[in-house]
């Protein structure tokens, strides 16, 4: 008895609680020619690259996308038939889109209005290496400590 849970393709046999002798199973696995492996991998890759999920979901997504795209084109054409001002149309359209993206995106966490600068960006903006910034900071702290009240002011070297 072999407690196996191999998940093969539908076309290939699956070995679950099989009573086949071990040697036969090994022969079967080793007997896969290069060509068979090729076709197996082709099918597997197809499945890996595109996992469509339930058909209804795919169909609904395609319909939603197509409806939105057709609506944008036809409503834009309708607006342009009234007043031939493509740039004004685009400016309004983009502004409305940004407002909606900001509201919904921030609520859903997709959009962040600000982000901290990374160390690499800081360095690239100021053109100062990170090590120099630390050395400068140490130097300034030392000078501030030296110039505390009660101590003699010493000029910066």
């Amino acid at each position: 008895m072999l407690p196996l849970t191999l998940s093969f393709y539908p076309e290939t046999p699956s070995f679950t609680q099989t009573t086949l002798p071990r040697s036969k199973i090994i022969d079967f696995l080793q007997g896969h020619s290069k060509l068979t492996l090729f076709s197996l991998h082709s099918r597997r890759l197809k499945m890996d690259r595109f996992d469509p999920g339930p058909r209804a979901k795919v169909l609904a997504t395609i319909l939603f996308h197509s409806t939105c795209a057709i609506s944008v084109t036809l409503v834009s054409k309708s607006a342009l038939n009234g007043i031939d001002a493509p740039v004004v149309l685009l400016a309004f359209q983009t502004t409305v889109q940004v407002v909606l993206l900001t509201i919904v995106g921030m609520a859903m966490g997709w959009v962040k209005l600000w982000r901290p600068l990374s160390v690499s960006q800081k360095s690239s903006i100021c053109s100062i290496p990170e090590r120099s910034i630390y050395r400068l900071r140490r130097y300034i702290f030392r000078k501030v400590a030296d110039n505390r009240p009660g101590r003699l002011l010493c000029p910066l070297h």
Binding site: V58, T61, H65, S76, G82, P86, V87, L89, Q93
Partner: protein
């Protein structure tokens, strides 16, 4: 910034093209999008993205012939002007450039900064608003009486018509903004859920549906034999291209995977499982 610039130029060209041609002809006017994208990919993208099987090139050739049939038929019947032709070709070119920019820069930038696609879209739109300001000033559209009535409504009887026209324009602009927002989300969803081949075929089929709906809903829209023949060619060519590309990609990846196995490295989950299975035995 490159993405925002490419987007602004692409969207402007598309909108000017839409203004110049019928909505039922729009998809045909932009028929050269696929051939331009292939050409630019070949020129500017690494070779792994730019190797096309003969069948895919055949599909692109059918698409070009569809564009040619549509243009010749329409220009003979004086349904489309040479301005429409130029804007259609220009719009296809700028959209293809936008695709290349997205492929070349955005993926790398997103990896570098760890930002999501929606964040990138939002940022490029914010930059685009800033870029529209000088374009608005230079286009002269702000001096259009109907647009001026939008910003300074008057109770005068002569301008009341303009004002109502402007209000309609404002409403439709807002509606297109809402639809564009939904389209952004839908595109994001579609990329995640469907394959590139499905996306390409659906896009071509959508053009046909769009033309049919435009004829039904919008005034002065017509459809004739030339346009139908052109749409059939564009749809068929796109489908053939998508199918051939998918087949070639699957074959390439399988070959690569087999090659890696021969080198003695673990290839895929299945083979790893096969190995584990053998060890267990």
């Amino acid at each position: 910034m490159p993405l925002a610039l490419a987007r602004v130029v692409g969207v402007l060209a598309k909108t000017y093209c839409l203004a110049a041609v019928d909505a039922s002809f729009y998809q045909i006017a932009r028929g050269l999008l696929l051939p331009f994208t292939l050409g630019l990919s070949y020129l500017f993208l690494p070779s792994k993205y730019a190797t096309f099987p003969p069948l895919a090139l055949g599909g692109a050739a059918i698409v070009i012939s569809g564009f040619g049939i549509g243009m010749v038929s329409d220009m003979n019947k004086m349904l489309t002007s040479s301005r429409g032709l130029v804007l259609g070709v220009g719009s296809s070119m700028t959209t293809a450039i936008e695709s290349i920019v997205v492929k070349r820069f955005v993926g790398a930038k997103a990896k570098e900064t760890g930002e999501g696609v929606i964040q990138m879209v939002w940022m490029s739109n914010v930059i685009a608003i800033g870029l529209y300001v000088p374009v608005l000033l230079f286009s002269g559209e702000l001096y259009d009486p109907a647009i001026q009535a939008l910003f300074a409504p008057s109770k005068d009887s002569t301008t009341s018509l303009l004002s109502s026209q402007s209000t309609d324009f404002l409403y439709t602009c807002t509606l297109t903004g809402l639809c564009s927002f939904l389209l952004t989300l839908a595109t994001f969803l579609q990329i995640r859920i469907t394959s590139p081949v499905t996306h390409m075929i659906v896009t071509a089929a959508r053009g046909v549906a769009q033309s049919a709906i435009a004829v039904m809903l919008l005034p002065h829209e017509t459809i004739d034999k030339g346009r139908v023949a052109s749409m059939v060619c564009i749809l068929g060519g796109s489908a053939l291209y998508g199918w051939a590309e998918d087949r070639a990609m699957t074959k390439r990846e399988a070959e690569k995977a087999i090659g890696r196995t021969e080198e003695g490295r673990p290839m895929m989950e299945t083979e790893e499982k096969e190995g584990e299975f053998k060890e267990k035995l």
